[in-house]
């Protein structure tokens, strides 16, 4: 049996949900409420000691790390294939995975949290989160949360995140000018990796992602969004969960950017 621990369909949780829907796999949904920091509860840390979603439970193991998780799904459930048939194409998918993890995901979650999610929190909720975040046992996560709530070095970090996204988008646009999908002629894991992050950019970074500057990226976003599996994943309603008003655009403080090198 497959179980997926996940939050609402945005960011990394959306990536996992889309992959499961594309593969046509049935899974038991375990909703984790990030807004009450349930990911750092003792129960959840028993599932993933790093306190992050999504987590796939399969064969009595916790499969973490979204890019490695999707490769695990591909290795375990090969049909329908979501990896290119050639080694160069597969290499491209893995490079997009690195760009997701190291450049795109930390930058999108930083900007979206500060521009969209944090301003929706009232003073009481901020104070509650601040008190709770100070007790997070995982050093790196506690540090990220306190940076995010106290808005430390905000202008500098946002500027760097914007630079990272500008660079990533120019690579995306260049790739999509060459071929219809990120890794080549066929839809692949690379498209699933980047879609939930890039889909918010026309609103988050309109000066970078718009019809004049990035026509191929916009056409690709529409093509991915039209896929039935993507629509089912994005409208997935976990039982008993109260979703944010705009799930796709609600981001919590994410992984830190690479510290060096």
């Amino acid at each position: 049996m497959l179980e997926l621990y996940h939050s609402w369909p945005s960011g990394h949780s959306a990536i996992a949900l889309i992959a499961l829907h594309e593969k046509g796999l049935r899974f038991a949904s375990r909703f984790v409420e990030l807004r009450s920091l349930e990911q750092y509860s003792a129960q959840f840390l028993a599932v993933n000691p790093h306190g992050q979603v999504p987590v796939l439970r399969h064969a009595a193991a916790s499969i973490t790390g979204t890019t490695a998780m999707l490769e695990y799904l591909e290795d375990t459930f090969p049909a329908p294939a979501l990896m290119p048939a050639d080694a160069v194409g597969r290499w491209r998918v893995r490079v997009w995975g690195k760009i997701l993890n190291e450049d795109i995901a930390p930058s999108v979650s930083l900007l979206a949290w500060h521009r969209w999610t944090l301003p929706t929190l009232g003073p009481d909720e901020r104070a509650r989160l601040r008190a709770q975040a100070a007790t997070i046992a995982i050093e790196e996560r506690r540090y990220q949360w306190l940076l995010a709530l106290d808005e430390v070095d905000l202008a500098d970090r946002c500027q760097y995140a914007t630079y990272k996204l500008d660079t990533a988008i120019s690579r995306v646009e260049a790739a999509l000018a060459q071929h219809p999908w990120l890794s080549g002629a066929h839809y692949s894991l690379a498209d699933i990796y980047l879609f939930p992050m890039l889909v918010v950019l026309p609103r988050l970074l309109p000066q970078t992602v718009n019809a004049r500057a990035t026509p191929w990226t916009l056409a690709w976003l529409n093509a991915v969004r039209e896929r039935p599996a993507v629509q089912s994943a994005l409208s997935f309603k976990p039982v008993g969960a109260v979703l944010p008003a705009d799930p796709l655009q609600t981001f919590m403080p994410g992984a830190e950017p690479i510290r060096w090198g």
């Binding site: 998780m69 160069v88 690195k98 190291e102 690479i258 510290r259 060096w260 090198g261």
Partner: protein, 257 residues
Amino acid sequence: MVELYHFEPNANGGKPIMTLNEKGVPFVSHWVDLLNFQQHTPEYLAVNPKGQVPTLVHDGIVITESTPMGEYIDEAFDGPPLRPRDSLERWRMRSWSRFADEYLGPSLSMLGWSRGIVPLMRKKSPAELERALQAIPTEERRRAWSKTIHNTFTEPELEESRRRLAVSAGRLEAQLRDQPWLAGASYSLADINVFNMAAALPHFMPTLVNDKTTPRLVEWLLRVGSRPAIKAALALSRNSLRPPDGPPPAGIRDGAR
């Protein structure tokens, strides 16, 4: 034809050399002198516009980024498989490789640069260094080199790197308690990827990483390091990073991904 652009056989630059050796793939070696900024020359940027090593050129196809490059080499060439057949072990291989890329590697590299490269940069003229900074093609590499040239590392960030090295040593020791290799029963790309970073741990953290406190980690380092493919890769060293008065500051990488 297989060509590899690389610097010293450590950190990310060592990974493809060792992987090609393990597979028995002959390659033409092109040395890129990072300390003299050869990676930012127009000739090299024509090969890899990001100005990073290593770069593999296989029959004219340019393959960058050392971790995905490892899987490419394993898929594209004959020779002993370097990825487990079992999908859970493969997942573990990729998780450990990511740990090397995002956690252990950057921490080690920050300490390595602040200790090893800063003194080497002091020997160069400010004008030469300023010209070198201007030629760097990406903002992240310019930030890293500027910090090194001007030695603006802060004590809290170096301390955080030391803390992460200690955490890394603990995680590796725990993982190797029940299995011979990082991914499980078989030697894999994870061992190559993590070895290239972790080989420097006994040097950086001698009180934390030694045969008494982390016996399994030390034994694993020796076991990986004694493989013929690894020894042959390490023998390519030109000792560029060795200061006149001490052992080489292992684990230094530049612009390596």
